[in-house]
């Protein structure tokens, strides 16, 4: 809101210069975001929080200045010059819940003209445009007291009637901005005998607006239900000075006074002939709100020692009525501060005016709670995972959880369109659904970097994917996604492209760090991966995700021309199987012996098969079985591979003799030949 510094001075006599006053108001919660010096005046750009509709006017701000500086407000004068009396206007409130109060006054024989220089300047200081002196005075009063007013050209009201009712389906109105608007039963309107002439509390109609030819004016000052106005304004897509105030609550007790003030000004400025008595309909206004304030509570909440007398004088300076009863204040709140409803509201008022800066900084009792490690187990595991992954050279990325609803992905993953979590009010089709997988975001990042000539991309994300649990409950689960492309290391002398084993190595390093030993990699073609390199990952027998070489057809969709290796794993099973504790196990006391075996086997025989067979043959004596070379090519029959293993033998309680080791080695060779038809070299 724009506030004129000079205009404020008409209501209260303060000495503070513009910057000083702005700082003081800011520190009382009325934030002045900027000051604009103009024509000898200073216009504040202020941010008014939604709980303070009383600050949406000059007089309300002057009231705050009264409290801040201990000054006295000047009353607003509404002295009507002697005038002839005309007939009271005919007003009916049909929707008594929507319109709690309606004051109408007729002013006859007006001669509309341009506003005086002073009035015009004030209107413009608030960023409003001048129209004519009658409309300008209604705006002036709105800015002065916060009460929106509307002036109708009375002669244009059919039947000379005002009816406050809900709009009927099919009714329309052209508002003063020239836009034709369709109305319905959710919208409260001011109607004449035939049609809506204004959208209540939001905007007047063009047909009945006051112009230079207007002779007779009906002035409206009303109180409309804030929620109703808010819903209607949202629905119609209109936000006006009036609706902004009505939806925040105007002072129901100030309707009549604001109307009388406007009438007295219009009467003089537009040289009117006669004025009617007000038609004052609806509630007479609820009485003052009574709140009991305990001084001990004030100090208990604030951590202060403010005496009762100071609390009382602060509340009085804000215009509240206060009676002291020892440690308790009986406070009665006038209608212009309807935001004050309960004790805590008054505590806030006291703390604001007392000054937040005067409240001490303490850590009293709260210091004593919460000893020891306060990180949850999951958080500690997450940190360890992040540390391992960044230590492996991966950069952490954060990609958008809201994405395009890609039919290609849905089809590949066999996810029905109804099983995708859609946002009802998306910003665009690019962010219309919550992701089912993280892979697409990873590919976005890779494409983005490749396009910027950054070729080595090793990334991970600890994010969430979203799904309907039991088919209907929107749910989420933690997921780790990893993607690699480019060269293996940053060694400038040796460029070697990453492959799927770099990816697997990262996962193994993570599992090792988290001491997850019940994990298995099982070959299986997965959607979105190339059938040549794809496996599922299991922990404790449960499938938790997969890894592999990303399918070329998918990469093509992202314009990625290089190989990408990716994995996606559920976090919950990883977290629940992780072991954070470390314990020492005795180092082996007896030496081990190793034997190498070189064999040629059918390509289909996996490492898992071979290692399993060797271990099975030797029992606990084969402590380590590791492949150390793999060859496919000319030297080896087609469809076969040559693979070398090193087997380390050790007995727990003694040194194995050469004979024992040799016999174990022999046994292993026999079993391999027997089971896999292997050729031992």
């Amino acid at each position: 809101m724009k506030i004129s510094y000079n205009w404020l001075k008409e209501y209260i006599n303060f000495r503070a210069d513009p910057q000083e006053l702005a700082d003081k108001l800011t520190m009382a919660g009325l934030e002045v975001k900027g000051i604009d010096g103009k024509n000898g005046d200073f216009i504040y750009e202020a941010e008014i929080t939604s709980n303070r509709p009383d600050w949406l006017c000059l007089y309300g701000i002057a009231r705050e200045i009264q409290a801040l500086y201990g000054l006295k407000l000047k009353p607003i004068k509404a002295k009507l010059s002697k005038s002839a009396k005309s007939e009271k206007p005919s007003i009916t409130i049909e929707d008594k819940k929507g319109c709690l109060k309606y004051v109408g006054i007729l002013i006859d024989g007006v001669q509309p003209a341009a506003s005086s220089k002073d009035l015009a300047q004030k209107i413009e200081s608030a960023g409003l445009r001048q129209v004519n002196n009658i409309v300008d005075i209604t705006n002036f009063c709105l800015l002065e007291s916060g009460q929106p007013l509307h002036a109708f050209d009375y002669d244009k009201l059919d039947g000379g009637k005002i009816i406050v009712r809900r709009a009927r389906k099919g009714e329309e109105i052209v508002t003063i901005d020239g836009v034709k608007r369709a109305l319905d039963g959710d919208v409260l309107v001011i109607a004449d005998a035939k049609r809506p002439v204004a959208i209540a509390g939001i905007m007047g109609g063009r047909d009945t607006e006051v112009g230079f030819s207007t002779k007779k004016v009906l002035l409206e000052s009303a109180y409309f239900d804030p929620a109703l106005i808010r819903r209607a304004a949202k629905k119609l897509g209109i936000s006006s000075e009036a609706s902004y105030r009505f939806e925040r609550n105007v002072d129901i007790g100030g309707c009549l006074a604001a109307a009388e003030r406007a009438v007295s000004l219009i009467f003089d400025a537009a040289k009117a002939k006669s004025v009617s008595k007000p038609s004052d309909l609806g509630t007479k206004g609820r009485g003052a709100v009574k709140i009991t304030l305990r001084i001990c509570r004030v100090n208990k909440v604030l951590g202060t020692d403010i005496p009762a007398s100071e609390c009382a004088s602060i509340l009085k300076s804000l215009g509240l009525d206060v009676k002291s009863k020892g440690d308790v204040l009986a406070v009665s709140v006038p209608s212009f501060r309807r935001d004050l409803k309960e004790e805590v509201d008054l505590i806030e008022e006291i703390s604001r005016i007392y000054g937040y800066d005067k409240i001490p900084e303490t850590l009293s009792s709260i210091q004593l709670w919460g000893k020891g490690t306060q990180k949850s187990r999951d958080k500690i595991i997450e940190d360890a995972a992040r540390e391992t992954l960044t230590g492996a050279g991966l950069n952490e990325v954060i990609t958008s959880a809201l994405r395009y609803n890609d039919p290609y992905i849905r089809q590949a993953l066999s996810i029905a369109d109804t099983q995708v979590l859609k946002v009802q009010n998306p910003l665009s089709s690019e962010s219309e659904v919550l992701r089912s997988v993280l892979m697409c975001g990873m590919l976005d990042v890779i494409a983005y970097n490749l396009n910027r000539k950054v070729p080595d991309i090793k990334i991970f994300e600890l994010g969430k994917s979203y799904f309907y649990k039991d088919g209907s409950v929107p749910s989420e689960k933690g997921v780790l996604a990893i993607a690699l492309c480019g060269t293996k290391e940053k060694d400038w002398h040796r460029k070697e492209a990453v492959d799927v084993f770099d990816l697997k190595g990262v996962i193994e390093a993570l599992f090792l760090k988290l001491r997850i030993d019940k994990c298995e990699f099982e070959l299986k073609p997965l959607p979105l991966f190339s059938p040549a390199a794809s496996a599922i990952v299991k922990i404790g027998g449960r499938e938790i995700g997969g890894l592999g070489k990303v399918d070329k057809a998918l990469l093509d969709r992202y314009g990625i021309k290089t190989c990408v290796f990716a994995a996606e794993l559920e976090l919950e099973p990883i977290y629940s199987h992780a072991k954070l504790e470390r314990s020492f196990s005795e180092l082996p006391r007896y030496p081990s012996s190793s034997r190498d075996i070189s064999l040629i086997v059918d390509d289909k025989i996996t490492n898992k098969d071979i290692v399993g067979t060797i271990k099975e043959a030797c029992g606990e004596l084969a402590v380590n079985v590791n492949p150390f070379d793999l060859y496919r090519g000319e030297q080896v029959p087609k469809g076969c591979k040559s693979i070398l293993y090193s087997v380390e033998y050790r007995a727990p309680g003694r040194t194995l003799t050469d004979e024992e080791v040799n016999s174990l080695d022999k046994k292993v060779r026999e079993v391999l030949v027997q089971r896999f038809n292997a050729k031992i070299r």
Binding site: M27, T49, S50, N51, R52, P226, A227, R230, R231, E247, K300, V301, G303, V344, S351, Y356, I359, P360, E361, L363, S364, S365, I366, Q367, W369, G370, K371, Q374, K375, S376, D378, R386, T390, G391, A392, G393, N395, E396, V397, I398, T399, S400, A401, L402, L421, K422, V423, Q424, N425, P426, L427, S431, V445, Y448, N449, V454, Y466, P474, E489, H493
Partner: protein
């Protein structure tokens, strides 16, 4: 005697200078400083000198030993710099082979840094779901359906009452529903609001929320705890000010500013010439929030606060465009290694 010493030094230094390789230097070391070397020999003669000369000359000789040793060493260094290129020569001006090293995302780093200060104060880290209901996101937090205060919380809806949380505050409610005070929690998390993406807006962003509840928690404690945090995070010199503000779930409420650490409070483009940077919102937990979780507001009081992680990271690292966080350019991410 002194003359002898000087002559010996001159001779030795001359020979050392002339030595062409390490072998020659080793020989010279033996010749002068060895067990039977010339200097050692002279030292042996001290015993036969008049007592008044002994200390002075002994000192001289020892000093000579040190000087010759130094001369030998420096010649050795000179020789090793000789232009002869050995077989295993390494041009150490070539870049090294860097071990793998990735980086945490700057937002994660910011969250971790914020949380670690609160962990040090005994806060517990708690998290909650992103998919929430209207009850947790609004009602239980005293945010009325048809009130303009709801405008600040524009929200993505999914289905029925389900929505994407527009702030981390629902976690407060979830925590209080199951736990008893006293407690101090800190809640990092991802939140969503339908804001069009530009340099300072994103429909997905992060917050860190805090909640302290117990008997006798005061606004003064709120000021104390947040000042400890802000000075810990932004530097011991920053000034902190609490400004009254409005949030539906706290009362009294405040916005907290720190003096601009870029211009030192003089006013610059980052702080909008005001000298202050708005960092977080906070306040005393509104009695209605306690009522919603069946706490007795007469028995316990508490404070809550919340801050935007992106904003803090942007200020801390001088990042001028929020989109950088979600584009994940490797060259951006690697700056935070």
């Amino acid at each position: 005697m002194l003359d002898k010493i000087n002559a010996l030094e001159a001779e030795a230094k001359g020979e050392i200078k002339a030595a062409g390789d390490s072998k020659a230097l080793d020989d010279l070391r033996t010749k002068y400083l060895g067990r039977k070397g010339l200097v050692t020999e002279l030292l042996g003669t001290i015993a036969s000198l008049p007592p008044e000369d002994k200390p002075r000359l002994g000192k001289e000789l020892n000093a000579l030993k040190t000087r010759l040793d130094e001369t030998l060493r420096s010649r050795q260094t000179e020789l090793s710099r000789s232009p002869v290129i050995p077989k295993d020569f390494a041009d150490l001006t070539l870049p090294g082979f860097s071990p793998p090293s990735g980086s945490k995302h700057p937002l994660t780093k910011t969250i971790d840094d914020i949380c670690s200060i609160f962990l040090g104060m005994g806060f517990k880290v708690v998290e909650g779901p992103e998919i929430e209901t209207e009850f947790y996101n609004f009602e239980a937090l005293n945010i009325a359906l048809d009130h303009p205060s709801r405008d600040a919380f524009d929200t993505f809806y999914i289905k029925n009452q389900y929505l994407l949380r527009s702030h981390t505050s629902p976690v407060q409610v979830r925590f209080m529903e199951t736990e008893k005070p006293p407690f101090k929690i800190i809640v990092p998390g991802r939140v969503y609001r339908p804001d069009a993406v530009d340099a300072s807006h994103s429909f997905m962003f992060h917050q860190v929320e805090g909640l302290v509840v117990g008997d006798g928690v005061t606004f003064a404690d709120l000021k104390g705890a947040l000042s400890v945090f802000l000075r810990g995070y932004f530097g011991a010199d920053v000034k902190v000010r609490f400004r009254p503000h409005y949030f539906p779930f706290t009362e009294p409420s405040a916005e907290v500013d720190v003096s601009c650490f870029i211009c030192g409070g003089k006013g610059c483009s980052v702080c909008g010439r005001k000298g202050w940077l708005e960092i977080l919102g906070c306040g005393m937990v509104h009695p209605n929030v306690f009522k919603a979780v069946k706490y007795n507001p007469e028995k316990v009081t508490g404070f809550a606060f919340g801050m935007g992680v992106e904003r803090i990271a942007m200020l801390k690292y001088g990042i001028n465009d929020m989109r950088l966080f979600f584009e994940n350019d490797m060259r951006f991410l690697e700056q935070f290694r």
